[in-house]
């Protein structure tokens, strides 16, 4: 009994009144580094994840810029064997090269971009960084359920990423991030391919551990008084994400394992020459990789729900609809993987998968409708996070709507594997996830680092990113419908103009990120100190200090209001004079 009793006594009192910020260095510099490397504090792990994934985003982004610059002009070889036209031809100046060699280089960079962005940036991205930092805070918990597992997951992430980087340093892989057999099992570059596949395999464990941790945390560590429908929508989204991570990732594990066996031992399960079936690989692959698309986008949707509500001071419209649509998307995501394979599978499966694919459009559409409806009668500010929310709504709507011709069978036969697909998923993944990630980083930046950032700088960065992104990818819709296949290192002359607009757009996009980098660095070193609750948020992370103390809360928080009761509650840390409440209306609240 004693175990229980002692802790029951402490309920509501975590007993750490004199603690400082989790960021405070307590010992000498080496000890501080050691403290960070061995920490089990979810906040520190979240910050370490944030920097790790942003570094990977930088690497993948450099690769993307390389691709865009290569595509500025079509590659042509003149009679003397010299490259003409291609913007990167100076790299091969004075050498005789072949079209195939250019293609080879391009394919390696293309794979590097895809593999880094997917496995090392966007899948762990939001959940492992912002999720790790804010999920326990929003739940009012001291930490995630299994703190050491959490740290292990970060180390596994780093270890896996090192394999990926090793693979690139060894000369890179040209399999594409999808590793389609039999190309991936027969292409040259044995150590690199195995290293890259192992990287994805290892990163899977990191993903599983993060997801597992979040599910248990959400189940068992909610603050007293917090029912399932008192949770912020970000938690719902991360929870749904975690379910997908746990259930889908093992399948990519066994797939990649088989791929490694295939390359090392030639076991032939996916090898047509040995009786295997390459389409089986595609099924295995997409059983993971389609749900994982929702691992990428669901947390972004969660961020949008929360950020939008706070910056509009408006209860989110249709809370339950959004919460359930997160779960519905997670569930349906397991039923639709075949829509990546309309051109390689049988007619019956294509029909079934196309039919089911449209079901995933409904909860997604419901979310967008709800967000737009939440703006109604709000009190909208134009802070950087909110600008990003508007950018998200604009770009994600395009991304979602362009999914329709891809889910429709007859139009997909044309658009499959074309630039239209490239544009579509960049609108969803970049216009959705990355934009929401940026919204989230700006929204929670003061809480994480205790400093405000420059609003003007943030807005400038947002504008550049928005313009650059649209220039880069909107053109690609037209490229795709006009017949430009993806993963081409060169193209026929007709596509030159659109490719050039796209490349110049990507440079503007890169400039936008440079602006953000400057703004963040400025904020870290010179930014003014952030108040406890700069935006007036009502979720629990705003109730603690800025930045949070080591054990999150001085007292275990007890939930007294919902996450979005903006017209009933003065936000923590605010003077009621600065926050006029509307006249209470009878029956106008409680979702």
């Amino acid at each position: 009994m004693t175990t229980v009793d002692r802790n029951l006594d402490q309920l509501g009192d975590h007993g750490h009144h004199d603690e400082g910020s989790y960021l405070n260095p307590k010992y000498g510099p080496i000890a501080t580094v050691w403290d960070w490397m061995t920490t089990v504090d979810h906040k520190k792990i979240g910050v370490m994840y944030l920097f790790a994934v942003l570094f990977m985003f930088f690497l993948g982004g450099v690769a993307a810029l390389g691709l865009r610059i290569e595509l500025l002009e079509p590659t042509r070889i003149d009679e003397t064997g010299n490259l003409t036209g291609a913007a990167l031809s100076f790299l091969a100046e004075g050498e005789t090269v072949s079209q195939a060699a250019v293609g080879q280089a391009y394919n390696r960079v293309m794979t590097m971009h895809g593999a880094i962005m997917v496995f090392m940036f966007i899948v762990p991205g939001i959940p492992a960084s912002l999720g790790n930092f804010f999920l326990p805070l929003m739940l009012g918990a001291k930490d995630v359920a299994f703190p050491r597992l959490n740290l292990a997951s970060w180390y596994i992430y780093v270890f896996g990423s090192l394999f990926g980087v090793f693979s690139i340093l060894m000369g890179g892989v040209d399999t594409g991030w999808t590793f389609y057999t039999p190309y991936s099992t027969t292409t040259t570059g044995q150590p690199q391919v195995i290293a890259m596949v192992l990287a994805a395999f290892i990163l899977g464990f990191s993903s599983i551990f993060t997801g597992l941790n979040f599910i248990v945390t959400t189940h068992k560590l909610r603050a007293p008084g917090m029912g399932w429908f008192d949770m912020p929508l970000f938690i719902w989204a991360v929870y749904s994400t975690s379910i997908i991570q746990v259930l889908a990732t093992p399948v990519i594990g066994v797939t990649l394992l088989l791929l490694i066996f295939e390359r090392v031992l030639q076991i032939g399960i996916f090898d047509p020459g040995l009786g295997g079936d390459p389409v089986l690989f595609q099924h295995f692959f997409w059983f993971y990789s389609h749900p994982v698309v929702y691992v990428m986008i669901l947390p972004a949707m969660g961020i949008i729900s929360d950020v939008l509500a706070v910056h509009c001071r408006k209860r989110i419209f249709g809370y339950r609809a959004i919460a359930f649509s997160s779960l519905a998307i997670a569930a349906i995501s397991f039923l639709v993987w075949g829509h990546h394979m309309f051109t390689s599978q049988g007619e019956l499966a294509a029909m079934v998968f196309s039919f089911l694919t449209f079901f995933v459009a409904i909860p997604t559409a419901v979310k967008v409708f709800n967000w737009i409806a939440s703006l109604y009668k709000g009190s909208i500010t134009f802070t950087t996070p909110m600008l990003y929310v508007f950018a998200f709504l604009f770009l994600f709507s395009i991304g979602g709507l362009t999914g329709l011709p891809l889910g429709t069978l007859s139009t997909d036969l044309h658009l499959h594997d074309s630039y239209f697909v490239v544009a579509h998923f960049h609108y969803v993944m970049f216009g959705g996830t990355v934009i929401a990630f940026l919204a989230g980083i700006h929204h929670w930046w003061p809480k994480m680092f205790g400093r405000m950032y420059s609003e003007k700088g943030g807005a400038l960065g947002c504008a550049l990113v928005f313009i650059g992104f649209n220039m880069t990818f909107f053109t690609q819709f037209f490229l795709g419908t006009q017949g430009m296949p993806r993963r081409y290192a060169s193209y026929v002359d007709e596509f030159t103009l659109l490719h050039q607009i796209s490349t110049y757009g990507s440079l503007i996009l890169a400039l936008g990120f440079v602006v953000h980098l400057v703004v963040f660095l400025h904020s870290l070193f010179l930014g003014e100190k952030a108040p406890q609750n700069p935006w007036g948020g009502l979720t629990l992370e705003w109730e603690t200090e800025t930045p949070p103390i080591e054990h999150n809360f001085h007292h275990e928080p007890v939930l007294t209001h919902g996450p979005y009761d903006f017209d009933e509650v003065v936000p923590p840390g605010w003077d009621p004079k600065d926050y006029p409440l509307p006249e209470p209306t009878p029956g106008g609240h409680k979702h």
Partner: protein, 232 residues
């Protein structure tokens, strides 16, 4: 899981050596109480088991698909296996599953001696499984040339895709055997910790976790056995 709290007050020194480890266990500081921690750990373990099941589902899926595509090769391949070794291994694993369940029961009742015996039997069963697998299945078959994929070197094959059968056989039983090895390491750790008195009626999370893992290893074999040895 284990405590991470560095702020725990030191235990009173007198009588410390007499208090078994399991009674001195304190739950992680971020949990409200030990039961919450136990429940949370159990959900975590079940989630992990879910990932295990889905990992194996890949091999079951490959089996099902190749059975649909090349039924005669798979049936012929099944014919090469001797159900007696498979059956013996099934019995061995079932017994080990029973003994680890008994070991947990013993720990719950603080019957440390019997817990130890049961854990040892479990470990020995696991070892026996591997020995049988290796000496009577893997080694003779491999030296016959019954190997996966391109390594296939058995001249008396009758069907074009018998190499695919051996790929499935080796990979699925190989992944399973890897899990058995992992289980042996974990059970050995349990035996070591149990000897230190780490598990008792109020704290046996680790035992419960390893037990569940071991049962899932058994469960997978329960399905692999008929699929590989009996279905034709």
């Amino acid at each position: 899981m284990a405590s991470i709290d560095t702020h725990q007050p030191a235990l009173p020194q007198p009588g410390k050596e007499k208090v078994p480890l399991w009674q001195r266990y304190t739950h992680g500081h971020h949990w409200r109480n030990a039961d919450d921690e136990f429940d949370g750990a159990k959900i975590g373990i079940w989630l992990f088991l879910a990932t295990e099941v889905l990992l194996f589902s890949g091999m079951f899926c490959a089996y099902a698909l190749f059975r649909l595509m090349y039924p005669e090769s798979i049936a012929a391949g099944s014919g090469y296996l001797d159900w007696r070794w498979g059956g013996l291994n099934t019995v061995v694993l079932l017994i080990s599953s029973f003994t680890i369940a008994m070991a947990i029961r013993n720990v719950q009742l603080n019957q440390q001696f019997w817990a130890r015996i049961n854990l040892l039997i479990t470990w020995l069963c696991a070892a026996a499984f591997l020995v049988i697998k290796l000496t009577f299945e893997y080694i003779p078959k491999w030296s016959d040339g019954k190997r996966p994929g391109a390594l296939f070197d058995y001249p008396f094959a009758q069907h074009a895709h018998e190499n695919v059968w051996w790929s499935i056989y080796y990979v699925s039983t190989g992944i399973h055997a890897t899990h058995v090895i992992g289980g042996m390491v974990l059970i050995a750790w349990l035996i070591y910790r149990q000897g230190k008195g780490a598990y008792g009626p109020t704290h046996y999370t680790m035992m419960e976790g390893v037990g569940l893992y071991w049962h899932i290893v058994d469960l997978v074999w329960i399905f692999l056995f008929p699929l590989l040895y009996l279905v034709h």
